[in-house]
Symmetry: C2
Subunit: 207 residues, 2 copies
DNA sequence: CCTACCGATCGGTAGG
DNA sequence: CCTACCGATCGGTAGG
């Protein structure tokens, strides 16, 4: 008997269970971003990876654990990239800041990078018991920004309290998830590089 | 026969149908903000205003029209307050900007002001056919900010393109919906006045 | 990972 | 605005 009809070919790796799990997380991220956690059914996700409706529950105990996996993957990838920026010890704070800003825009808008937007916009759908684990990772990410902004503030390049600056700057960048669309062909489309540059120009005060 | 049990007294006005409609919009805004559009049932809303499950459909054709009414009310209130700021012709651009920032924080965090946060976080739940009407109002709101930021830029108080500045600054403020909680008793709690001040300090460059 | 299925919930409606 | 209700959908499961 044929499976359910699909409009597009399923996105699947080979049959290695670990890879199939990855498929689910990646596709879930995309669908959650597009339609929200509550607006996406487990059936939608299953179909998109070429499974039947009950099979995702072989990989995840329930839908919420799939949501957590999406967020966790986003923070894991984000931490990897941002820690690499920080580890370059010779970099001046201003240069570190510029790279962190550009990296964060990439995390939001690079192709296939749907994990962090899901965290930002479906945070309230995550049950409290799962939040702890994500918060732990999120705190590490915030720390990277925090220490960089404290350096900038000491140098007089930023005028406000470092913590508030962090919340506002990340807020400004995060909000681009609602209006920036990389695929847009509009003439006035801005590159991520330009966007990062403008963001830095807006909030820093060169002496 | 008694109605369904409630944990809290229903929030109701008198029986004037227009007032009951307002009750629904206000309560829906609060619940949508807390639990999301998809996470809130029409039954939840009905119970909270002291109606039975089918009765909201006497006031609204469907759940989506209730969502639209919430967003519309938010923009109506926001426009009212912001236009008042703009209309004071004698005001320097910098002072206008400060007041707009403070006003926007109020729109997000004043008691009972849940309409705009719903628009920000449940925008994708609004069907396209309803979006047009909301976009029209939203454009008027953006115009107020846009012209003020253009003035600031001409005076050299802001370093970036006015449109990008608008998106980034409103983004920074809007994102406070995810982390600022007016009721929080934390010692480091910041007032909306202080928040507005810090925001202005972050993005303006006094000469 | 599939088949076959269930229990619960939910938006919405007819008729008063 | 209430009563009584329906059709559809959905997360999740047993058994293989």
């Amino acid at each position: 008997m044929p499976g359910p009809r699909r409009k597009t070919a399923p996105e699947r790796n080979d049959d290695n269970p670990a890879n199939r799990r990855e498929d689910l997380v990646r596709v879930a991220a995309r669908l959650f971003r597009e339609k929200g956690f509550d607006g996406t059914t487990v059936r939608d996700i299953a179909t998109a990876v070429g499974m039947r409706s009950g099979s995702p529950f072989y990989h995840f105990a329930n839908k919420h654990e799939l949501l957590m996996a999406v967020m966790e993957e986003g923070l894991r990838l984000g931490l990897e990239r941002s820690e690499a920026v920080i580890e370059d010890a010779g970099l001046p704070a201003m240069e570190r800041f510029k790279r962190l800003v550009r990296t964060h825009y990439g995390i939001l808008h690079d192709t296939g990078s749907d994990f962090i937007p899901v965290m930002l916009y479906d945070w309230r759908s995550l049950p409290d018991q799962y939040k702890r684990r994500i918060i732990e990772l999120k705190d590490r990410y915030d720390d990277i920004w925090q220490s960089t902004l404290e350096d900038l503030q000491r140098q007089g390049l930023i005028r406000t309290d470092a913590k508030l600056a962090r919340l506002m700057i990340l807020g400004a960048i995060n909000f681009s998830a609602t209006w920036y669309h990389a695929r847009s062909r509009a003439k006035n489309a801005v590159s991520l590089d330009a966007l990062a540059e403008q963001t830095v120009a807006l909030v820093t005060h060169p002496t």
